[in-house]
Every structure is written in C-alpha cells, then in structure tokens.
C-alpha cells in the first residue's frame, strides 16, 4: 500500500478502505481518507459524547453541524437578525510557527462565519501559554509571536477583537493553546448554508481565493497526532501561510457577491476551505446535500506548476472559499472577484474559477491531467467510522486533590491583594490586547478590558447589542476536568451577565491529550459531563464547538484539561450596559452568588456597577471596579466591612447597588481612591501600578 508520511490512519482504517474500494487506494485517495477520517475532520473519538450537549433553545436559529451556529439577536425594522458564532483551536500550528499558526487560526475562523452569508463583526481569543519567565525560552517566543500573529491578521482585515483571556502555566510549555472565536451578523432569511441545494445537480463548483500552493499540506492529520511523533520540517510544511491583505479584499468582495446573489434571489451553498483542502470542502458540501462531485484538479489556480495531485487535493492553502451556485450566476460572481475586486492583482494568481460540478451520482471523482486519480463513494469518504471504543479512566486522586498554596509571608488580605494583582494570573491584560484593534467598524460599545465582556452594537441604527466573553481556567483543569468545565461555563456566563446582557448561547473548544490514553480520554469525557451539566442547569445551548486532541508534551503528559467556553449574550438596548466602574460614593457593594439575581436587578435599573468574581477572589473584583472608576476619571474606592467571604467557587458577582439587591453587603463605595478593610488600607493608584506592570515585561 502507498504510504502517506505522518498518516494518522490506523491499520484497521486502512483495511476498511481497501475493503470498501476492492483495491488499494491511490496516493490521492490515501491522503484524502487520511484527512477526512482524521480526528480533526471527523470527530471520531468525540462525537458520540458531544451529542449529549444541549443544542436547542428558543434563541437558536441554527445549531452545530455547519461551519458556524446562529443565535437570534433581535429585530430591527421588521428584520430578524442572527449572531453567527464559531469557535476553533489552532494549537499545534501555533506551537511550531506561532505567528503564522495563530494568524491562520483567526483567518480560518473568520471564513467559517463569512461563508454563512454573514458580515464578520468580531473575534475573541483564548490563549494558554507555558512558563514565560525565561526571556530566551521557546514558550516566551510562542507567547509573543502568537499574539503578534493574531494582531497582524485581525487588525488588517478590520474585525475588532472583543474579548479573550490568557493564562501562563508550565503544562503548556510544549503545547500552547490558541482558541479563536468569530462572530458575524446575518439577517435570518439571508443565511447561506454549506450544503448543495436540492436542485443543484450539474451546478458548477467555484473555488475562490488564493492560488493553491504546497503550504498546509497534511494539516488535518498533523493536528490529529502528537507533536513529538512528527518530523519538524513536515510539521512546518503543514502550517498554512496567512495573507490578511488578500482576506481583507476577499471578505469585501464576498459581501458584494452575497448581496448580488440575494438581489437575484438565488440559493447557493458556500463553505470555507479548511481541513482537508479542496477534497474536504467539496466532498462535504456535496455529500451533505445528497450529491456527488466531479473535480478537475487542472482547473485550480496554482501558485506553482507541477504540484502533485495529492497536494492540490488536500493541501490547506489559506484564504479560499467554495461555492455551489447556479450556472447563470457564475459569470457575475467571477466578475466581482476577478475584476471589480481584482483578486489576481491582489495576490499572485488569486481568483475565482470553476473547478468542477455537482453530480447526481454519489461518487467523489477527481481528475488530474485527464486521468482519474480518485473515485470513491462520497458518503464513505465523508462519514468516518467511529473510533474503536476508548477507555476512559480518572486521574490519580493525589493529582486531583492538589490545593493551592497560600504564601505564608502575607500578613493581611489587602497585602495579599497586592501580590495577587501583580501575579501573571490576575494582572492587567492591557499590554496584550492593546496590540489588537478593538474598535474598528465603529460599533464597539464596551471595548475589551473595560468590563468582563466585550459589547458591540452591530446593526447600524439599532440599539441591539451583542456581548461576548470567554473562560476556562487551566489551574482548575489541572485538578479536576469536570469541575473546570462547569466553572468555564459559569464564568463565561457570569461575565456576560455582568455587563447587563442576557446570555443566549455557548460555544466550546475542548483541548485535551491523546484520546487513546485512558486518563487523557477520561478527562475529555469528564469535561463533557461538566459542560452538559452546567449548560442544562442554565438552559443554554451549545451552537458551535471544536475538539482538539493530542495536546501533550514530549513525554506524553497531557496539558491541563482545557474546556474553553465562550458565552454570547444580547442586550435590547446598549444604552443600558453595566460596567464595573464604581459610580457613587455611599452605595452598597453586594456580593451576589447567582446570575438571575443580577439579571433581575439590572432589569429594575438598580445596578450601578457590576463585576464578575472570577478566579474566586472578590477582592480582585473590588480592585478592578476601582480601577475602572479611575479610568472613567472618578477617584473612588471601597470600605469593606466583611472578610468572611463565602465565595462561590465558580462565578458570583460584586454589585454596586442603587437599591435592594439580594446578597451579602460587603462594603460601601467611598469618595477616596483607597480600599479599606479593618485596619488595613491600600491606595488604588498603587494597586493599579502593580496590576499594570507584569505583562508589560512580555508585551512591551
């Protein structure tokens, strides 16, 4: 049998393929199955668990299954609007080539939203880096270059970065996590789907974008193996090359194309080229419509001649989209891309070109130089068999029972606060996110860092708002995967509630170790349990998600269990946002443990300020409320009356109340920039100084 280097196919899977074909697969077929049956494309080890997650609610317009989910935002001028949301990881590429890996992570997630017929309105990122204390370490380089990659890409395409978080933990030294979320805006009746429409037999398949090159070859299986199992140069070749300049133009051209198609009233399908390249995308778009496809590889626009057919077929060259559209619309669409937006002049040989057609016969046929190089049953190709039953076991108890160590030199809570605020876990993230454009598009109501969640008003002329936040604390994950996942849901939801929004949906990215290792797999299963429980408890659906396995170090130790969750919320009127900034001396500061109470108080208009208690420490939240007041030009502080915080481990809120809010009153807002607790007092400007500094060392 032909060998694909770095193949992620098992021997049993190979036998199955040979059996079904009745012959040995061709080289192209082998690469195609390697990609399509990879964990990354097929979710073969995770899908039966993911089915347990709740995916429905009255707010869901489109649940998981296509490139992105859609939630109901609200109505404006009689039109129903949806928020499109997608969430993915780009971990392995970012560990190997962090700038390009992280940048293409943004590029890929943006296309997932774009292809739904949506305008891309925001991104968010959840980053997990290793121990960065040594300036010369690779993990320090990863932490810096990945942020620069996200910044370079997001800024250039003109999409604001609205939310995110970052943690530094030695468990990520050899395997960072780059999770990215993208948001889009679409009118409900204008959603574009990623399956070939019912009448589309014989319709052309149009490939749009960058000329296919040899980059990103083997990317799907690359992310479905551990990094150390692979050869470094092959790894680098598997990373895609970003071109945000081309993407900027393609996005705008695609908005124009969708507008044109809507004017003509035609239904089309559109899908992003991601894992598995041309084959992955064209096979899925046709198979999910109940059709087959015939593609001529010679019609691809290429960056160089002589690329082997398997590279043309499964290479993951970035910045490409695929359309299935009626024959009489093709010329106009090509004209928009190639002439009006002059793609061929923007990047070498970039263009829109017909590469094949939808077929009634459910085969997937590829030709190259007049010869058939692939001819398989399209459903067999796109429906990977489930992985053999994997064993799931728990982590050893001694690891799970680890408890945090409280430094002994701390004399009082406020001295502890100062230490906490200057730790990498709790310090200001501003040096990082100020490298991201957070306000392009001119509709950012709460920029990143000003509150627990970012808020935008994406519909021009409408007060409707979208809030977004992410969470997933790896320190919890290192102890207990299930509780960490529950906490991730709780924290993401709390952050959205804290800005006055109504949470309507969740996304998840599950980053774990090797699914064939019972302990690693056990953590994944436990995390799904936790997500399911926490989401059902709140009546919230998951509308998009992603699983990333094989995140481990060279000795086979998995990263801390990392279920990373984002929460989307809506506001009927962005004029009613709540920020964490203290407002009024004399008002009570109330510790509230549940989001419903906060929601009611917001509705009643008695919340002057609110901050979610994340990481379990209300003192940090108090400090952040005072910092936010300073940022608004108000020198305010707090006199705290209680030290006996029965802090809920997950979530909880501090509310500056303008009336009765159910909870424990823990202090009062005072008209000095000081935090007072019993005999102890600290100056807010001093705290601010220590809070701002630590990350400046990494992001000067």
């Amino acid at each position: 049998m032909v060998e694909a280097p770095n193949s992620a196919l098992s021997a049993a899977e190979r036998r199955r393929i040979t059996g079904a074909l009745g012959r040995d697969p061709t080289t192209v077929e082998l690469y195609a199955f390697d990609a399509q049956w990879s964990e990354h494309c097929s979710y073969k080890s995770s899908r039966h668990h993911l089915r347990r997650l709740p995916v429905q609610s009255p707010d869901v317009i489109l649940g998981p299954g296509e490139d992105a989910g859609v939630l109901h935002l609200g109505e404006h001028n009689g039109e129903r609007y949806g928020v499109v949301v997608a969430h993915e990881s780009h971990n392995h590429p970012s560990q190997v080539v962090p700038f390009e890996g992280a940048a293409t992570g943004v590029g890929g997630i943006v296309r997932d939203v774009l292809c739904m017929g949506a305008e891309v309105i925001g991104i968010a990122d959840a980053l997990r880096f290793g121990d960065v204390s040594n300036p010369d370490s690779h993990q320090r380089h990863v932490a810096q270059a990945a942020v620069d990659g996200i910044s370079a890409y997001g800024n250039a395409i003109g999409v604001p970065n609205l939310a995110g978080d970052v943690y530094f933990h030695e468990g990520f030294n050899e395997n960072c996590l780059i999770n990215v979320i993208a948001l889009g805006l679409v009118k409900e009746r204008e959603i574009v789907h990623s399956f070939a429409p019912p009448q589309s037999a014989g319709w052309p398949i149009l490939l749009v974008g960058k000329a296919t090159d040899a980059s990103g070859f083997g990317g799907a299986s690359f992310s479905s193996l551990s990094l150390d199992n692979q050869n470094e140069s092959t790894n680098k070749g598997a990373v895609q090359v970003p071109d945000p300049f081309l993407k900027n133009v393609m996005m705008r051209a695609t908005y124009r194309v969708f507008g044109l198609l809507r004017e003509r009233g035609v239904t089309v399908a559109c899908k992003d080229l991601g894992a598995g390249g041309v084959i992955g995308c064209s096979a899925e778009i046709c198979a999910s419509g109940g059709f087959g496809a015939r593609i001529q590889l010679d019609r691809l626009n290429v960056a160089q001649e002589g690329l082997p057919p398997e590279v043309l077929a499964v290479g993951e060259t970035q910045e490409r989209l695929l359309f299935v559209l009626p024959p009489d619309a093709v010329d106009d669409v090509i004209r928009v891309y190639n002439e009006e937006f002059s793609l061929p002049e923007i990047a070498y040989n970039a263009r829109a070109a017909v590469i094949g057609e939808v077929t009634r016969e459910k085969r997937y046929v590829l030709t190259h130089r007049g010869e058939i190089v692939m001819d398989v049953d399209i459903e067999f190709l796109t429906a990977a068999p489930p992985a053999p039953k994997q064993l799931a076991s728990e982590r050893p108890t001694e690891e799970r029972s680890r408890r945090p160590v409280i430094p002994s030199e701390v004399e009082g809570p406020l001295q502890g606060l100062s230490l906490l605020l200057s730790s990498l876990d709790a310090c200001s993230r501003e040096p990082l996110y100020r490298r991201y454009d957070g306000v392009v598009r001119g509709c950012t109501v709460i920029p990143r860092g000003y509150a627990d969640a970012g808020v935008i008003a994406p519909v021009p002329g409408s007060p409707l708002g979208v809030a977004v936040a992410v969470a997933g604390n790896p320190r919890y994950g290192a102890i207990d995967a299930r509780r960490a996942a529950e906490d991730a849901v709780a924290e993401a939801v709390s952050k959205v509630v804290a800005v006055g929004a109504r949470p309507i949906g969740l996304t998840d990215c599950l980053n774990f170790g090797n699914p064939n290792d019972p302990q690693h797999y056990g953590e994944f299963v436990a995390a799904v349990d936790g997500l399911e429980h926490a989401a059902r408890e709140r009546g919230l659906p998951f509308v998009s998600g992603n699983v990333s396995f094989y995140n481990e170090n060279s000795s086979g130790k998995a990263i801390p269990a990392s279920a990373i969750v984002s929460c989307i919320g809506v506001l009927d009127d962005v004029a009613r946002i709540v920020t964490p900034a203290l407002k009024q001396p004399g008002s009570a500061i109330v510790l509230v443990d549940d989001g419903e109470t906060v929601r009611r108080a917001v509705e009643e208009g008695i919340v002057r300020a609110c901050c979610a208690v994340s990481g379990g420490d209300p003192l940090v939240a108090i400090a952040r409320m005072a910092f936010a007041a300073m940022q608004d030009g108000r020198a305010l502080g707090a006199e705290l009356t209680s030290t006996g915080y029965a802090t809920p481990e997950a979530g909880g809120f501090l509310v500056e109340a303008a009336g009765h809010v159910e909870g424990a009153i823990v202090g009062l807002v005072i008209d000095r920039s000081t935090i007072i607790l019993g005999e102890e007092r600290v100056s807010v400007p001093d705290l601010l100084h220590s809070w701002r500094k630590p990350l400046q060392r990494i992001y000067p």
Binding site: S151, N155, A156, I157, G158, F245, N248, V249, E339, E340, F341, S342, E345, I346, Y433, R434, R435, Y436, D437, G438, V439, V440, R441, G442, C443, T444, V445, P447, A457, P460, G633, Y699, P700
Partner: protein
Amino acid sequence: MLVFPGTNSEDETLRLLRAYGAEAELVHWSRWQTLAQYHAYVLAGGFAYEDRIRAGAIAARDAMMEPVIDGASRGKLVLGVCNGAQILLEAGLVPGGSDGQATAAFTRNAPSGHFICTLVYVKLAVAPQRSAITASLEPGCVMPAWAAHAEGRLAAQSKAIGAIVDGEHVTFVYARADGIVDDAANPNGSALYCAGLVNREGNVLAIMPHPERVYPQHSPLFESFVKAVAAS
C-alpha cells in the same frame, strides 16, 4: 471616499459622513477613473496595499491619488484618517513642501514599536479658521478618538519640524481629557504631540486617531468637514 486594497474602515467612516448629511459614496480602486468628478475626498483607515515598505507609501503613488492630488491643488477638501493620514503625508500633501515631496512621516510608534489601540483625546491646536475643515470647531476643543496604529509618530528632520511649527501645520495635539498636553497623553511619542496636520492652504487635513470609532458615533470634526464641503 477612496477604498484602496487593504482599507478597512470605510463603512463606519461613510456612515458618519452620511449622518452629517454628506452625499458620500465608496469608490473602489477598480473605479478610480470616476474619482475626478467628486467635490471632496476622504481617505479612511486600514492597511492600504498592506502598508508595504512604509505605511501609506504604495497608496500615495497609486493612480487613485492622481485625482486627489490634482483636486487638492485646486482647493478641493481632503480628509485623511489614520492610514488615510499616512497616505497624505507620503503623498506630500501635508504638511506640504514646495515641490510636492514628503517632508515628514507618521512612523513607527515609540518606544514600544508595536501597534497600539487606545482611547486618546485630541485638542485643536490652531485657530479653527486655520483650515476650512476645522472652521466650525470651538477654539481649543478637546475630542475623544481611538488611536489604533503601529506607525503614528510624527517624525521629520529638525528643519522640517521648524517649518511645521512656523507654518502652524499642527492642527491637533494629543491631550488629556481635560485638555492638558503632556507626555502621558502622547500614545506614540509623536513629535510636537502631533495628532493631526494640515497643509499650508488649509484644505487638506490628516489626523491619526479615529474620531469615527467613538461609540455612539459622533464627531465635531466630521461635522465641521461636512459643513465645509457643503459650503465649498
């Protein structure tokens, strides 16, 4: 409004111009031949031509700029924001020398050298009548705007800096919200705390931070610009 390949702020800029009553539209690069017919030009933010070589360097030499340079010499009003401002400097339209060559640049931020996105305030540093575009502003007014750039620091040789000062070209300076101008308010180390420059004749204005990104959208500068266009 000119849209170069790589421009990324065209929609919100257009929205604000229209909110003040301007009859404005986007003109993409493939339609550059139609530009001459317009009465005024706006260059929005972004990364035109990927900011290759230097921010604005390629766009300034693009065919798109020919009608703008020609129109500016005949008194048409031109406003450039952020990347648009960088393009105007690269094209030599502001601060403006005798031979149409660039005499100053908005260059790499100092000391960080990195892109920064941060809320700033800009203060009108000349008499409003110095430029038709600022004529409706209050003297010394302070306005919020978002700095979002990697190359926004005004730099020039000392002779050129002297000419910029003598010619009253610095229209806007970075300031605190209360109008105090100091180093702490200067986000990128810009010479003369400069946030915006105007040409000698006052019809071409380049401003680095984005007034159009403040939410809810509201900009006395854009309002004044639209009034000036209507009167021109």
